[in-house]
């Protein structure tokens, strides 16, 4: 790395840190810590949700998946984007109208049970952890590529993991949610800018998307594997049609018949159960605003993933030709194909933009990682601090104590994630699991989609859901999902193993069935009518809108006479 990329990186990080500091809350109220101190607008919230959602998996991972598996990798992009449609249809507005701090809080109050709350906290923490690890891995990989050397005797990968996790944990612990909303929005915009810049650079250099896909599809798809004689290229087998070889523009490079669907369904169901994304809905002013925010998110996500897919294709097409001209590519590639597919975008940035380009892309990746880690840590702090600490461990906690509980949770979770990321060494896993970051994120989605989403949907749309049913459903979904993907890893078989690692197709229906069966035998909460009114009635929203209208009207009348309506009351 040289001065240019370091300068760019430093500038970006300084900007982010500056916004975070400028937005820090005065005073340590829990509400301020967990939710934005003021309500945020529809578009700003959409940017913030995108900032939370687009992690290393979206930025680096999708392009890596496309690079490695062609069309089968594009399903990641489709799945990530599609996940917000069920959120919009089923979750956004009712969740906001019920208005609590976090998912376990919502379930606990909706079903009037502390057991549900605690089980939900457990599941949520598990999801957060499994989502954090790939972020740390992604930042380690980026640091490795960007800086190339470690600090204090650690390997470059380890340095990346530690630095990013520590930085974000520190920011969150000091800043809280209010800082994070605007920070998230700014970070997302930076991310989008980096991606757009790269796309423009690639297109400007004369990249022909259609032609590239056609060319790539004429030859069989081959990826590096570590063999006895070192790294060598091995063609991918076509899982759909055993006789043929896999090709870039056609499905089958990674998933068999059922696998194609399993991945998409896993990702779609998973988004509705992601705690850090759903927590953002509580900062919308009304249920309708929450819905509209999701529409914006769908638009932005579509744009983002379309660009990411294009860049992955561009990487595959252009990097082999660029190897002779750029000697530093020699050690990263085997016969023109990258060993670590997550390097695809940073390498493209360096090819088209020199060292500054590398800096921009790396900054984008790190920003994506940091924003997601921040959101996740905050969600972890919210669920642990508010749901467990304030209600059970220390019911008479003061504000300060509650906030400190939140801060310590942040630190603990960050350490755990960093530790797991360090224990995992990506090179050894790459051969086994191509596009490691995207795959690991899929685990988090699988867990969310199997354990949380079915119960969530039933709690919102079916009156008969009971606390016992929800607990049973969450537990069965989580256990089944974890069991299936541990089995999938153990099995290490490309066909069945892949399938087991996307367990939502099986685990979610099971969880639904269990919830329904158990709920039938138990009694729903007693205040169901009142809860239902809050959940599906718009009285509070209309009240808020009317107050807003009156305020605007009285403000606009102020020069002539002071608010007559207010004076009359």
């Amino acid at each position: 790395m040289n001065l240019a990329s370091a300068a760019v990186l430093a500038a970006v990080l300084a900007l982010v840190a500056g916004v975070a500091i400028a937005m820090r809350p005065r005073g340590a109220s829990t509400v301020d810590f967990y939710l934005a101190g003021q309500r945020v607008g529809v578009v700003t919230n959409a940017w913030a949700i995108c900032g939370d959602y687009f992690s290393a998996a979206s930025f680096l991972g999708v392009a890596a998946a496309v690079y490695v598996s062609g069309l089968d990798g594009v399903w990641y992009a489709v799945g990530f984007a599609a996940g917000f449609v069920p959120v919009l249809l089923f979750v956004a507005a009712p969740l906001r109208r019920f208005g609590e701090f976090s998912i376990p809080d919502f379930l606990g109050r909706r079903l009037r049970s502390e057991h549900v709350r605690l089980v939900a906290v457990g599941v949520v923490q598990l999801i957060i952890l499994s989502y954090l690890v790939p972020q740390a891995v992604g930042s380690g990989i980026t640091w490795q590529l960007l800086v190339g050397q470690g600090i204090g005797g650690l390997s470059p990968y380890a340095t990346g993991v530690v630095v990013s996790t520590a930085a974000v944990a520190g920011l969150v612990a000091c800043g809280g949610m209010r800082g994070t909303t605007w920070t998230q929005a700014v970070q997302f915009l930076l991310l989008l800018a980096a991606l757009c810049w790269l796309a423009t650079a690639v297109l400007g250099a004369g990249f022909d998307y259609g032609g590239a896909v056609a060319d790539l599809s004429t030859e069989p798809l081959a990826n590096p594997t570590a063999g006895d004689r070192g790294w060598e290229l091995a063609t991918e087998q076509n899982r759909l049609d055993g006789a043929a070889t896999a090709s870039f523009g056609e499905p089958g490079a990674r998933y068999g018949r059922l696998g194609q669907f399993a991945l998409i369904i896993t990702l779609i169901m998973g988004t509705a159960g992601l705690p850090h994304v759903l927590n953002r809905y509580f900062t919308s002013p009304t249920g309708t605003a929450a819905r509209m925010t999701t529409v914006w998110v769908l638009g932005l996500a579509g744009l983002f993933y379309a660009l990411a897919v294009m860049l992955g294709t561009a990487a595959r097409a252009q990097i082999p030709a660029a190897v002779p001209a750029h000697p530093w590519l020699q050690e990263l590639t085997v016969d023109g194909v990258l060993r670590v597919p997550e390097h695809a975008l940073p390498v493209l940035g360096r090819i088209y933009g020199g060292d500054a380009g590398l800096g921009v892309v790396a900054a984008g990746a790190l920003v994506a990682v940091m924003s997601t880690i921040a959101g996740l840590l905050l969600a972890a702090a919210a669920s642990w601090g508010h749901d467990v600490y304030e209600r059970h461990i220390n019911p008479r906690a003061t504000q300060r104590q509650a906030v400190w509980a939140g801060r310590s949770t942040t630190m603990v979770v960050a350490f755990a994630a960093a530790g797991l990321a360090l224990a995992m060494r990506p090179e050894s896993l790459t051969g086994l699991l191509p596009s490691i970051v995207a795959t690991m994120v899929t685990w988090a989605f699988a867990l969310a989609g199997s354990a949380l989403t079915p119960v969530f949907l039933l709690a919102i749309w079916w009156r008969g859901t009971t606390a016992a049913g929800a607990t049973a459903g969450m537990a069965s979904g989580a256990v089944l999902a974890v069991a299936m993907f541990v089995a999938g890893i153990r099995l290490a078989d490309p066909g069945l193993g892949e399938l087991l690692m996307t367990p939502t197709l099986v685990a979610a229906p099971v969880a639904t069935a269990v919830t329904v069966l158990v709920s039938r035998r138990t009694a729903p909460p007693r205040e169901l009518e009142r809860l239902w009114l809050t959940l599906h009635g718009t009285a509070a929203d209309r009240h808020a809108e009317r107050l807003a209208q009156l305020t605007i009207r009285s403000l606009s009348r102020r020069p002539s006479r002071p608010g007559p309506d207010l004076a009359q009351r």
């Binding site: 069309l71 594009v74 399903w75 992009a77 489709v78 984007a81 599609a82 917000f84 449609v85 069920p86 919009l88 249809l89 089923f90 022909d208 998307y209 259609g210 032609g211 590239a212 896909v213 056609a214 060319d215 599809s217 759909l240 523009g249 056609e250 499905p251 018949r257 194609q260 669907f261 998409i264 369904i265 779609i268 309708t288 819905r291 509209m292 999701t294 529409v295 769908l298 996500a301 579509g302 744009l303 993933y305 379309a306 897919v309 294009m310 749309w461 009518e529 239902w532 009114l533 599906h536 009635g537 718009t538 009285a539 509070a540 209309r542 009240h543 009317r546 209208q549 009156l550 309506d565």
Partner: protein, 108 residues
């Protein structure tokens, strides 16, 4: 005539709105699911879906997965959101604000 009082919904109204919105949501979800599973399913059943070459070198499957589906998601999200908001506005809440001079329709 603004009502400067708290808003209130009765259980029957909320139940009616809930059922209608649920119907809308399930309907749109069915369409969405059909599209999202249809694109890979067509790869498995229809040869042309992977073999045809559209816009240069991309097969229809690739075009859908790389652009078409995102546009579809945005449109379906927008449609569902506006419909749900419109239904909620009409089925819950107070009377419509009186508009000047409109609403006259006396001719059969």
């Amino acid at each position: 005539m603004a009502r400067e009082v708290d808003e209130h919904d009765t259980p029957a109204e909320v139940d009616a709105t809930f059922r209608t919105i649920r119907r809308v949501a399930v309907g749109y979800f069915a369409v969405f699911l059909a599209a999202v599973t249809g694109v890979p399913a067509l790869s498995l059943t229809l040869g042309w879906w992977s073999d045809g070459r559209l816009i240069g070198g991309m097969s229809p499957a690739f075009v859908m997965a790389a652009f078409g589906l995102y546009v579809f998601f945005f449109l379906i999200g927008l449609a569902a959101a506006t419909l749900s908001t419109a239904v909620e506005a009409r089925m819950l809440g107070g009377p419509a604000e009186p508009e000047d001079g409109t609403g006259r329709d006396g001719s059969p």
